[in-house]
């Protein structure tokens, strides 16, 4: 495998685009990424497109219908919330393997106000949701937070501080779906969605797109690309004692982190920023420990002491995170990489992490898939 560089990245503001469609949104992000790289669509040799709810609709090919049909190989990827980051990894593999010199990854989703995922009633007409517990994400991530409470005495207020931090961060990100602060008391007083997560502790639904152009070392030299992919890792669930009954978001993230750090030759202490999968506030604290940003049981203290706030020891989700920036499923994984790339190139504007040299992007899709991409200059 050879080194791979990110030559360009693009992202449209997350939000709601009622009058546009998925290929249109994805195409705009793709053109931004190409412009950023100084390349045209005719230079692209491979496209991986992640779009979860239109996974069977050939979105990648339809994006090329929008921006230039060159006949290149296209794959359409679906991997739950890790859809976009899996597309990024496929593009990375296409270049790392030596098969292609320029590959593009696009993540795009249009959710509108589709509401909670995995609605009730299957083909049998028998409803199990809310009768045999819950398989919906709010309850699953509520339970995951409760497990941390059970083990370490973490409090609802500590989880709520994640929402306060990420909403505050998002006020400096013009591409964030929401850009308003919310006070701790208001987070705690908001209606409960699934205890311990209240409304502000749950990510919104929305539309969005992001894209990245990955290139070979030779192309990187020609283009003056400065950001290198140090590791791109994908894991699935190993067997666990509560297998399938209680989705385990921790073990596969720990497995991915271990492999990614080994591959990249860096440790958590070397990271200048982290974009991690805060689909719910509870998840963020668990991933501090899963990614080795602190020891087991220390995540509550870490948020109490503002270590992950912009300016802190290791800033987490300075983009606003999924909680405020938004979580258009297929777009999220590429958007996290876009954010890291901006910081590593010193182009993150008001939210720039000073002298950022190494950043980590983490995504988890329930079912489960975990990606970790470590980028460095």
């Amino acid at each position: 495998m050879r080194d791979v560089w990110v030559a360009g990245a693009g992202m449209i503001r997350f939000g709601r685009y009622k009058d546009r469609d998925v290929p249109d949104l994805g195409g705009e992000a793709a053109l931004q990424a190409l412009d950023d790289a100084g390349l045209g669509v005719k230079d692209v040799e491979f496209l991986a497109c992640g779009s979860l709810f239109q996974a069977n609709a050939m979105v990648g090919q339809r994006i090329l219908q929008q921006i230039g049909q060159t006949g290149i190989p296209v794959v359409n990827v679906a991997n739950a919330c890790a859809t976009g980051s899996t597309a990024f990894r496929d593009a990375w593999l296409a270049v790392a393997s030596g098969e292609h010199d320029v590959a593009m990854a696009v993540g795009v989703e249009q959710m509108g106000k589709m509401g909670l995922l995995g609605a009730a009633g299957g083909g049998s007409g028998v409803r199990t949701e809310g009768v045999v517990g819950s398989g919906l994400m709010p309850a699953v991530f509520g339970q995951a937070g409760m497990e941390h409470m059970r083990k370490y005495g973490t409090t609802q207020a500590q989880f709520a501080k994640v929402a306060v931090k990420n909403h505050r961060h998002s006020t400096r990100n013009p591409l964030s779906q929401y850009q308003t602060e919310v006070a701790l008391d208001d987070v705690l007083a908001a209606r409960v969605v699934a205890y311990p997560n209240t409304l502000y502790m749950c990510c919104p639904t929305g539309d969005g797109a992001a894209a990245a152009v990955l290139v070979s070392p030779e192309k990187a030299r020609q283009l003056g690309a400065t950001v290198k992919v140090l590791a791109s890792v994908l894991t699935s669930d190993p067997w666990s004692d509560r297998d399938l009954t209680f989705p385990d978001i921790n073990t596969l993230t720990r497995d991915a982190a271990k492999r990614a750090y080994e591959r990249a030759g860096v440790g958590p202490e070397d990271l200048d920023l982290v974009e991690l999968h805060d689909c719910f506030a509870t998840a963020e604290l668990l991933h501090y420990e899963n990614l080795g940003l602190c020891g087991d049981g220390e995540a509550g203290r870490m948020i109490d002491e503002d270590e992950t706030t912009h300016g802190g020891r290791i800033p987490v989700n300075v983009s606003g995170g999924l909680l405020s920036k938004g979580h258009p499923l297929g777009a999220t994984g590429v958007a996290n990489i876009f954010e890291v790339v901006q910081h590593l190139r010193g182009r993150a504007g008001d939210r720039q992490v000073p002298d950022a040299k190494v950043g980590l992007a983490h995504v988890i899709g329930l079912g489960s898939a975990c990606t970790i991409n470590i980028l460095g200059t």
Partner: protein
């Protein structure tokens, strides 16, 4: 003809395939599949063991109707048509398997729920299916005073 239809006995069907509803008077129970290779217990059919990949098959074992609460969430907002609030729980059974279920007969408040509390299984009709059969669901509730746990 009309009379025959209304007096016809409605069938009972389990809400999940691993809930057994014996028609010989025994109480309903959950069935586990125990791997002949490593002894891991799974709910529902698998082609090989998810833990050890053995293809030696499984023995069906009745799971105890008792357990302890591992974790829960109190769901206040769900998909349309689903009554809230309810307590979505993960219950550990002594056979080494966990089950997802609703926790009933408790107030849906954190103060009323304790990690590790002993629980027992109960069943009830949750709904009718498209053919008008009763769909029997299982639930867990706080174990009765003095119950084994």
């Amino acid at each position: 003809m009309y009379v025959a239809r209304v007096t016809e006995t409605r069938a009972r069907r389990p809400i999940v395939p691993f809930l057994r509803l014996p028609d010989d008077g025994r109480a309903p129970y959950l069935a586990g599949q125990r791997c002949r290779g490593c002894g891991a217990v799974a709910l529902g059919r698998r082609l090989a063991c998810a833990r050890c990949a053995s293809r030696d098959g499984f023995d069906e074992i009745p799971l105890s109707g008792r357990g302890t609460l591992w974790v829960y969430s109190i769901v206040h907002q769900s998909a349309p048509g689903i009554p809230v609030p309810y307590v979505a729980a993960i219950v550990d059974l002594p056979e080494g398997v966990a089950v997802r279920c609703n926790l009933v007969d408790v107030e849906p408040k954190p103060e009323a729920i304790r990690f590790g509390m002993p629980l027992e299984m109960t069943t009830g009709t949750s709904q009718q299916d498209r053919d008008g059969n009763d769909v029997i669901a299982f639930y867990f509730r706080p174990a009765a005073e003095g119950a084994r746990s």
